[in-house]
């Protein structure tokens, strides 16, 4: 046993990398179909969108860049699918500079190709606006003034979906997909509390512990945390995206990391005990 622990203690970290790589590649090639259940915050996210009356306008703020794409893009397309299936009018925007092209891709995949929705009538991409919290506050006064034109350069006054949209009181729900700052925290602080409007969030797993208190306090009606949240949400929406496909790999990678943490600690304490 001592030899085994010494071997573990001196183990080259690259060996661990190989195990983690195998734990990810094998389940992707041969899915294990590990079952998982839908948690309450994810159900809350789904229910909040379901409760919005059909035909209502929803603000869809995708505040992230390609760095967070694997975690957040699956929930972006799934949320779009649920909203368009319910015939909600989607007003998309981004407070991150590289966000609008990702939004365009999601809209193209889901709205254009899957639902054959009409740009400007069923959905619009307002693009990016610099200013972070100040943009949120400004939208509270006037959305058309804050975003005078959409991502394609069309004047907002000429876009049918934007007719009658003045400020937050004209949208029924804010759906935020957040990669960090500015994101969910700022939407809660600057908009939800001030205008008392419904807000749901999908965020990276790193941010999730920071946002759970907002769900617990009722400031967020629902929360999707990382790829696990995306997978649960995809299950509710009935979509098989990267969230669900990646769950087996994620579970196996976590198992490998867990095993190495346990083995590493056992080896460390066992050898330390023998030295003393």
């Amino acid at each position: 046993m001592r030899k085994f622990f010494e071997f573990i203690n001196k183990l080259d970290r690259r060996v661990i990398f190989i195990f983690v790589a195998l734990a990810i590649i094998i389940p992707l090639l041969r899915p294990l179909n590990i079952k998982f259940t839908v948690t309450e915050p994810v159900q809350g996210f789904y229910d909040a969108i379901e409760k919005v009356p059909q035909g209502s306008k929803v603000l869809f703020s995708c505040d992230y860049e390609p760095g967070s794409r694997p975690e957040l893009f699956p929930m972006t397309v799934a949320a779009l699918e649920q909203m368009l299936r319910r015939n909600l009018k989607v007003i998309a925007l981004s407070l991150w500079p590289a966000g609008p092209p990702i939004v365009e891709e999601a809209l193209s995949d889901v709205a254009e190709k899957q639902f054959k929705s009409k740009y400007g009538v069923d959905y619009v991409n307002l693009g990016f606006k610099e200013g972070r919290e100040v943009v949120m506050v400004s939208m509270g006064s006037s959305i058309p003034t804050t975003f005078p034109q959409d991502f394609r350069g069309t004047k907002v006054s000429e876009i049918p979906i934007m007719q009658g949209v003045s400020n937050f009181s004209d949208v029924k729900l804010i759906v935020n997909i957040s990669g960090g700052y500015p994101g969910t925290k700022e939407w809660v602080q600057q908009v939800q509390a001030r205008y008392n409007i419904g807000l749901v969030s999908g965020c990276t797993a790193v941010s999730a512990p920071e946002y759970y208190p907002y769900y617990q306090s009722g400031q967020l009606r629902g929360l999707l945390g990382g790829m696990k949240g995306a997978a649960e949400y995809e299950m509710l929406v009935g979509r098989t995206g990267l969230g669900r496909k990646g769950m087996d790999a994620q579970s196996m990678a976590h198992l490998i990391i867990f095993l190495f943490i346990v083995l590493g600690n056992l080896a460390y304490f066992s050898l330390k005990k023998k030295k003393t």
């Binding site: 975690e71 919290e133 797993a205 790193v206 990267l242 990646g246 790999a249 994620q250």
Partner: protein, 207 residues
């Protein structure tokens, strides 16, 4: 279509270059790193110019005649005086305005949207109709008080006060563990995303 395939091959090559660092630092990793930094900087400048400067300032000022925008244009130009030692102090005017606006927005948002509502949300009844809810509320209340006492430094952490502070440490450790777990999950998700790209988009061996 050809450009799409070329794009996938380039992305796959640079992904593998970055992954090669897991073995050890090498030429391919450095190459990918330098190209990434250069492209990011260029992309950032172009993006800010086309998405921020032109639609928010230059076009409304020159094409729509919104002369009021001369003020932000002037303040923005002042930021560049930092490059001139003799008048670099002028940049502080614009910075002061920026800091003032962002601080004001952040303080109001934090006070009304975070602090007050979070305190309100943590004043929970310890006796409810559900045993589990009561237990949850009790754990949350004890954890909150213990953590607050741990961060109270005006009294030495001794005796009963020190005991509660130590309980606070346990709660903090649990929260750090949960945060670390979520961080691992997040990083694994990113890795899965890249591996999925390599196996599906590049090699096309996933069903």
């Amino acid at each position: 279509m050809t450009y799409d395939i070329l794009g996938i091959w380039v992305a796959a090559f640079f992904t593998l270059c970055i992954f090669s660092f897991l073995y050890r630092d090498n030429f391919f990793y450095k190459l990918a790193e330098h190209i990434f930094v250069g492209i990011s900087a260029g992309y950032g400048v172009a993006l800010q110019y086309h998405n921020v400067f032109l639609p928010n300032l230059w076009n409304p000022l020159t094409k729509e005649g919104k002369l009021i925008l001369v003020i932000p244009f002037f303040l923005g130009a002042l930021l560049f005086t930092r490059f001139l030692d003799k008048i670099s102090w002028l940049s502080r005017w614009a910075l002061a305005l920026l800091i003032g606006i962002f601080s004001g927005a952040a303080i109001i948002g934090y006070g009304s949207g975070d602090l007050i509502l979070q305190i309100n949300a943590n004043l929970l009844p310890l006796k409810t109709n559900s045993l589990l809810t009561s237990l949850n509320n009790l754990i949350l209340t004890v954890g909150l008080i213990a953590c607050l006492i741990y961060f109270f430094y005006s009294k030495e952490h001794k005796g009963g006060f020190g005991f509660v502070a130590r309980i606070g440490i346990f709660f903090l450790m649990i929260s750090f563990g949960a945060s670390f777990g979520y961080t691992v999950m997040s990083r694994m998700s990113l890795l899965i995303g890249r591996v999925y790209f390599l196996l599906d988009d590049w090699l096309g061996i996933l069903h």
